[in-house]
């Protein structure tokens, strides 16, 4: 999987202005954050991705005053995004339990190499690991810290998630 694009540069003055209640700055900051958050929340929350992005942005702007270093905003936003996306996906109760036996055999016309279809057969927690490790390029330790689980749990979830994809694509 290709690593996720690097976090965009953000003008620290824009973050400071948003912290002081400038709603035009908040709007501009949202424009910059939404593509970044959408790439995290989409694969984890799937059809509930827009709900997740909305909740993430509310959490970000309610707590923006706590962010001391504007340059850290994307790392900070990533942590909130993963947590909220997993919560929204679980709350929606649409996630199926991640059993690899559920993954269709290669060639199944229903699958049609649809990434969203394979992701939908994993739990939100497995999807979160996949996003952080394979899409976002975080280390096991970093991913574990964000998800509040040990590195070993990250490793085992990642193995299961990757195996699901290998099975789906018949590799």
């Amino acid at each position: 999987m290709a690593p996720m694009a690097a976090s965009p540069e953000i003008d620290p003055a824009l973050v400071r202005a948003a912290q002081h209640g400038d709603r035009m700055a908040q709007g501009e900051l949202m424009d910059a954050l939404i593509p970044f958050l959408g790439r995290i929340c989409g694969p984890i929350a799937l059809q509930d991705g827009p709900d997740a992005v909305q909740e993430v942005l509310i959490a970000i702007f309610r707590n923006l005053g706590q962010l001391r270093d504007p340059a850290a905003i994307f790392g900070w936003a990533r942590a909130i995004a993963v947590r909220e996306a997993v919560r929204v996906a679980r709350q929606a109760a649409r996630a199926t339990v991640g059993e690899l036996a559920d993954v269709p055999a290669p060639g199944d016309p229903q699958l049609a190499a649809d990434v969203a279809d394979v992701l939908g057969r994993l739990t939100p927690e497995h999807r979160a690991v996949l996003v952080l490790r394979d899409l976002d390029g975080l280390s096991e330790r970093e991913a574990g810290a964000l998800l509040a689980v040990p590195g070993g749990t990250v490793r085992s979830r990642l193995l299961r998630a990757r195996r699901a994809f290998r099975k789906a694509w018949g590799q």
Partner: protein
């Protein structure tokens, strides 16, 4: 393959919900308008004609500068007071503010019609403590049924 990964987006109405949820003392309304998005937004985005109809105290509103989606406008109140507004205007989204006031509109197509949202807030210190007073003032300013009236004008076009 990376292109196939699902990416979530946030439409303009959801964006305005975020502003509403994080702005103290805000008034916010959202409703379905049974008219196509294009017709509704043609009315809503006509700020020079529409703003005086939506905001009770605004007598005139003139666009004084524009650069892409960024505009500047000058509002004149019924008492003759002037206020300069910064504005971002693009299809389905309008957000404007000056030192004292924030005003926003958002719209998306929905079931053959339009979901329309409007927002107003005062930018004053202690806005969260004064929220009930602010809401009273803003409700007077924006008036009840502002979205209904806008919908009527969209339908009559």
């Amino acid at each position: 393959m990376n292109q196939q990964w699902p990416v979530a987006d946030l439409d303009p109405v959801r964006r305005l919900r975020v502003i509403a949820a994080t702005t103290p003392g805000v008034i916010y309304a959202e409703q379905h308008i049974p008219a196509p998005f294009g017709e509704v937004w043609a009315v809503a985005s006509d700020l020079e004609n529409e703003l005086p109809r939506i905001v009770a105290d605004v007598r005139t509103f003139k666009i004084t500068a524009s650069a892409g989606e960024r505009l500047q406008g000058r509002a004149r109140s019924r008492l003759g007071l002037r206020a300069r507004f910064d504005v971002v205007l693009r299809p389905g989204w309008c957000l404007m503010q000056n030192r004292f006031l924030i005003f926003g509109m958002a719209a998306v197509p929905e079931d053959g019609g339009t979901r329309f949202a409007g927002l107003g807030a005062l930018r004053v210190p202690g806005a969260s403590l004064l929220a009930p007073v602010n809401r009273l003032l803003l409700t007077h300013q924006l008036g009840h049924g502002a979205i209904d009236r806008l919908a009527d004008r969209a339908r009559s076009r």
